[in-house]
């Protein structure tokens, strides 16, 4: 059956990037529009995962298997992005832990983790 409109050839091949961009922008929106610090950290980690998916989807090759050597396998996926993202996941958790520790200290100092209230207290001080 013929489709009524002509779909450009690139569309299915680029869909992975577009999904990544939607996820990335969801995380970005949480970071810039919400005042709660914990929610900002969650948004950052959503953004981070979107970047990971971008790299991993670039490493996939049609018909390629996981990069573990075996005589029966003729084609492997690209192992280098896997290595980079392994490193990035672990570093991401380390930075998340640091950010959350900072949030705990902010809450000690101001009694709140809402950005608006913190700014208001700062304004009243000066």
């Amino acid at each position: 059956m013929e489709l009524p409109i002509e779909i450009p050839m690139e569309i299915p091949g680029l869909l992975n990037y577009w999904i990544v961009i939607v996820l990335m922008m969801a995380g970005f929106y949480v970071v810039i529009s919400h005042g709660n610090l914990v929610k900002k950290m969650v948004g950052l980690s959503v953004f981070q995962v979107a970047v990971f998916v971008l790299y991993i989807s670039m490493s996939k090759i049609d018909g390629g298997s996981a990069p573990i050597l075996d005589d029966a396998i003729k084609q492997y996926s690209n192992p280098l992005p896997h290595v980079l993202i392994l490193t990035a996941i672990v570093v991401g958790v380390a930075t998340t832990a640091l950010g959350l520790a900072l949030i705990v200290r902010v809450r000690d100092a101001y009694g709140t983790i809402e950005e608006d209230e913190i700014l208001e207290q700062e304004r009243n001080d000066t």
Partner: protein, 181 residues
């Protein structure tokens, strides 16, 4: 995954948000299995879905569980997000297609890793060979970053955490605050 991400935007109950971020990580891990990145998948499942969620729950136990409704207008962030997303989508039009074996990223160094690492390093898992040997300095740098972050967390939350400190507005009621690091 996208549904989970949008639920994270809408919900104000932070406990639910943190749980959803755990689910989000787990879905990402299953996606990595489908994309034949098995090492990344189990790291994401253990570290992203496990430890991150635990750390965030520990923070929620210390701080508050609900997000206040913000009075700020949110049209500006929306405009910024849509413009950025549009520019990024425009940028993808030149990208190699999904699954293309002749994409530039797959041509340099990778054939050598696949052909030689079995004999040079002697480990069947190419990811391990590259991580520990070819890019060993990278992994060393990663360890340094984690070490620095651990020191930072200890300095921020370590001994004397419940004491009054300069800059603190009111004495804090001592609570169970054990951040597992």
């Amino acid at each position: 995954m996208a549904a989970t991400a949008f639920a994270i935007i809408r919900l104000r109950n932070l406990f639910a948000v943190v749980m959803l971020s755990g689910i989000f990580s787990l879905l990402a891990a299953s996606l990595y299995v489908l994309l034949s990145a098995v090492d990344v998948a189990f790291t994401e499942a253990a570290v992203g879905a496990g430890i991150s969620t635990l750390l965030m729950l520990a923070t929620l136990a210390i701080t508050s569980e609900y997000e206040k409704k913000s009075e700020r207008s949110n049209w500006l962030p929306k405009v910024i997000v849509f413009v950025t997303g549009g520019v990024l989508i425009y940028g993808t039009l030149d990208m190699p297609l999904y699954g293309a074996a002749d994409a530039p990223a797959n041509l340099h160094l990778i054939p050598r890793f696949i052909l030689e690492s079995g004999t040079e390093i002697g480990i069947p898992n190419i990811v391990t060979s590259v991580l520990a040997s070819y890019r060993g300095y990278d992994t060393l740098g990663e360890t340094v970053v984690i070490f620095t972050a651990a020191i930072g967390v200890l300095v921020l939350l370590g001994r004397g955490h419940n004491r009054w400190r300069p800059g603190m507005r009111k004495p804090v009621v001592p609570e169970d605050r054990e951040e597992e690091v």
